[in-house]
Symmetry: C2
């Protein structure tokens, strides 16, 4: 894996009889160098826009024979450099594999990796169903990337991660063989769970060319509220208590005061600039009112200052603003950018502690840092902002990330809740999983991808040779 | 793996300084030869009752050096020969590792593999919590075996399988190294999912010595009903529709008319000897009544003959009877036994078809066969009864199993929903998963257990050499 860009002779691609297309021009290749993260783009040697499983198989088989790195990609909305082709070679774009074939009677849908999350939900809404994990970038994120990174978002607190909704995968192995992982049923005890091994493996073991996803009913009733608190600790403690008592909101988002300021500036919302919870309760029956009363009482116990119920159109506006948290951060100051996009998860009882840790460390390092998070999951996104050309800013952001991730792991948590390991979290793998577990992961990688062609430089730390 | 019993020199065990004990006497060894399945017992060469993670590590390290097979075991209630030491060697009993350490604020509990399912739920009930998959043999099944087989039962339709509730595992690898798999949080995108690879691997990759399990709230409200139908197809169609409309009962059990007869004979229940659904609706608020009304209307649409609500004590009696389905089958006729314990799952829309398939094939083969099942999951247990000494009976039972399993797989289903592959389902692995997937499973097995000591003869079909 000592590859550098330009090393790889990808001419074999031109000889393949593909349904899709191969691109060698520099302008096209440059478009495939980066993702939505702060990680440096790298221009690949070639790009394939695959249009079928057969395309993916042919491209991989040829690359495997020649030892050419392949970086699979769908929406390109990753936040940890997951689809950056750091070793050059081929970027394998699967966006054209975008079929949608619903089986509403079995509450499931067969989809290609190139289907956009929001589009999928529009397509299955006619059956009263939806693919439920929620994702902030649902207008661009595609199913392939969501599976590769075990992505989730707003609604995971009630409905779970992407992986919780995957029944079956069609996967092309590095040598081009096509296999099936899992079955189109709700449970099985048959054999090793290859499906959940592929989920979250970030294209380092193979390429998903079709998935059968479980769908859930669109809730009949929704109630929404916007709740403000005097301090971040009060807001985060309220979340911790709500979850502890077994209530599962459809969504429960934490937004710190600096984030509310950014959102107001970006979207003109005029929200009180206080630590805030955005809440949605889902239910299929009238009992939902009891849940709302319970949640309001817990918030009151945690010194809430204001409880404002929102109707559906108000709530749509607020959710759109929450979705815009990252663009709002980018717009904060000319030349400034999010320098790191944090993504830790801690046990729910520790949520107030991790929120406080971010705040304390950011103060110590004197770096402006905003926090939002899928609080019901214990998931916190912290975003240090600064000038990417300013070495002191970058150093402070990296140190903040390092200290917060280590604190989260020490609390029993994880370095990444939904963005994946990609490039930026590899250095925490040993600390989080232990060297023994990481060694087993590497053994699995070596067994399935012996030539190491699949998305090199991601997930697993470099092996000492 | 050409081992036969008695081949293995297990004397090294006597030299280990264990917290637990080693047993070499024949009478003790014989107690560890079988499980609750119809599979032939095999007496191991030695038995270790491990009392700590360190014990498990020392036993495995020594066995690995010497190439001695090790069959891990907890409750021994498996129904597919999963814990039968077919290659002899050591049975590693983990029942003495039975600590229970709850963290109610994080809705979780750390447990040893030797904790009995019902005992665990008694211990955590004080917090208003429970470990939810439900299992018919909850009075004997232990957490270790439930994880090894991804077991489930009555309540999986609402709460999921064992694997859905496992957050973290401590696992001893075949060479004795202790690793951690997963984190004590509700979601993560960090690295390969080793946890769900271990779940359901039936002790063929390592031994679980501790698990952190997610707990759920004990439902505040329950409603139960017993519903009878004129035909099996009506009952199973009702289930299919209830699930399709998005209602998730706490439990929904299908019991065919012959099974009701057996249960009446065994437990003196006096139920109408008709195809029956046992229903439990769970909820945390008053809206549960709407669900009850909806379910009743679906049953009415499917020609139900009787809807009888049951209070808690009546329902306890009925559930106990349902739990006794297997003993009731055993008691049916002197000298007769269940010859196969079927465990297929199909897509829910196909549930009426698989019920009909069993009935038709059993008629053709002229073998008495009873059916019960966790119908909401699409899971059906079919049990051909006969004299195990009667070759015609045994041949008919095996043919029934073969034909029903193949039909289920052809419907997109699985050969085993909750009992595991064990010995009896290995022959269906290629058909269910495809040869390519099974080869990847074998590669993983070879990478993690290169000497092939862990529970040989289970899960994966024999490799042609």
């Amino acid at each position: 894996m000592a590859d550098t860009v330009g090393d790889h002779d990808c001419e074999y691609l031109a000889t393949l009889d593909l349904d899709g297309t191969v691109e060698f021009t520099e302008s096209r290749r440059e478009q495939y160098g980066g993702d939505a993260s702060p990680h440096e783009p790298v221009t690949p040697d070639a790009v394939v826009e695959a249009a079928s499983t057969a395309d993916v198989s042919a491209v991989l088989a040829g690359a495997n024979e020649r030892g050419i790195p392949v970086t699979p990609r769908s929406g390109g909305s990753g936040l940890e450099g997951n689809a950056v082709p750091v070793a050059g070679g081929i970027v394998l774009d699967t966006t054209r594999i975008d079929h949608v074939d619903a089986q509403p009677d079995d509450l499931q849908v067969r989809v290609g990796p190139g289907v956009v999350y929001d589009d999928l939900n529009e397509r299955v809404a006619q059956y009263g169903l939806r693919f439920a994990p929620g994702i902030s970038s649902g207008d661009v994120a595609m199913v392939g990337g969501m599976i590769a990174n075990n992505a989730s978002g707003f609604n995971a607190v009630r409905y779970g991660e992407t992986g919780d909704h995957v029944r079956r995968l069609e996967v092309v192995l590095p040598d081009g063989e096509v296999i099936e992982c899992g079955q189109e049923v709700v449970k099985s005890s048959s054999g090793y769970n290859l499906r959940d091994l592929i989920v979250g493996s970030e294209g380092t073991l193979g390429v998903v060319t079709e998935a059968t996803l479980e769908l859930v009913g669109i809730p009949e009733h929704k109630r929404a509220a916007l709740v403000t608190f005097p301090t971040e600790r009060d807001a985060s403690s309220a979340v911790s208590e709500i979850i502890r008592f077994g209530v599962r909101p459809g969504a429960i988002e934490f937004v710190d005061a600096p984030s509310v300021e950014l959102l107001n500036a970006y979207s003109g919302l005029g929200l009180p600039e206080k630590p805030t919870l955005l809440l949605e309760l889902h239910g299929n029956n009238s009992g939902i009112e009891e849940d709302v009363e319970f949640v309001e009482s817990v918030c009151a116990d945690n010194r809430m200052e204001r409880w404002e119920t929102a109707d559906e159109s108000e709530m749509d506006e607020i959710w759109q603003a929450r979705r815009d948290a990252l663009p709002a951060a980018r717009a904060y100051r000319e030349g400034w950018e999010p320098l790191v996009i944090g993504d830790v998860v801690v046990p729910i009882s520790k949520y107030p502690d991790i929120v406080e840790t971010v705040s304390r460390v950011a103060d110590e390092l004197d770096i402006l840092t905003t926090c939002v998070g899928h609080a019901g999951d214990g998931n916190l996104h912290f975003t240090p902002l600064g000038d990417p050309q300013n070495e002191a800013h970058v150093a402070a952001a990296n140190e903040l990330n390092e200290r917060v991730v280590k604190a989260a792991i020490d609390m029993g948590g994880t370095a990444t809740g939904e963005h994946g390991v990609g490039i930026g979290k590899r250095k925490f793998m040993d600390r989080e999983h232990g060297a023994g577990s990481v060694r087993v992961m590497q053994q699995i990688k070596d067994a399935i991808d012996p030539n190491g062609i699949m998305n090199p430089g991601k997930v697993l730390p470099d092996v000492e040779s």
